[in-house]
Amino acid sequence: MNEQHLVEELRNQDEKATRFFIQTYQHDVFRVILKIVFNEMDAEDLTQETFMDALVHIRDFQSDSSLKTWLFRIAVNRSLQHLRACKRKKRFAVLKSIFATESEEPIAIPDPSASISKKIENDELSKALQLNIEKLPENQRLAFSLIYLNGHTYQETASIMDVSVKAIEALLSRAKLKLRKSLGEFHYETT
């Protein structure tokens, strides 16, 4: 099924085409989201939301980019919204714990990296890298994740993030330097 035909069928809400569309792209979308949010459960929910968004707004899809890039753009935006919501929750929890009376239990905020961290706890440097990626500014985190962890090209990343290739190069170089510095500190402290 070629892309144009698939888009037409999706616009007609054809179930067979919808099934084909999800099965073709769900693995890639899940991987992209997982490597941004670092949490399996959240990645699964966000993948579903991404496909729902894509199916509901398929009429807005214009052929200036490929369907896959468009889908990744939705996935990246969804992931960013999720990260921002997590940040807000954390800030709110801190405020609440400051003003909480003694009888009130502070809210336990689940660590978004907990589930995956468990799986990689044997490799301290990988864990440190993941934690430091989480500390990067949004755009640097996205650029690093898409290029280094997902293996996208600069051109693809620029298209997904809707910025120029030059901007991607700058973001990536800043992210890499920050990560190398923080990992250097970690590495030389532990050895």
């Binding site: 769900q26 997982l34 496909f51 509901v56 990689i120 490799d123 962890l149 510095k181 990992l183």
Partner: protein
């Protein structure tokens, strides 16, 4: 503090990427198809409810217009009759008309 060298950094990045790749991917096809159907049904119901509400509102609007037009007609007639019975000039007109 010295930054980590490029080669080691690349190795760690690849290791993290591989570990994330080893995570089993859930099949979400049925969940999304189910959610899409629910969404379509909800939107269809909402559209039907909007049309029903629009018809109801326009009927209500028509009824209010009809009532206010009737009321104003009745009011005009009452005011005309009242004015005929209350002023002297009108009494004389009526009497003249009677004769």
């Amino acid at each position: 503090m010295k930054p980590l060298n490029n080669m080691k950094f690349d190795l760690i990045t690849q290791s993290l990427s591989r570990k994330l790749d080893s995570i089993e991917i859930p099949d979400i096809t049925e969940k999304v198809i189910g959610a899409r159907k629910n969404y379509s049904t909800t939107i269809f119901s909402l559209k039907r409810m909007t049309v029903a509400a629009a018809i109801l509102l326009s009927s209500l609007n028509g009824a209010v217009l009809w009532y206010s037009w009737n009321y104003s007609q009745e009011k005009n007639q009452t005011e005309l009759i009242d004015s005929l019975y209350t002023t002297d000039a009108d009494w004389s007109t009526l009497l003249t008309l009677n004769e």
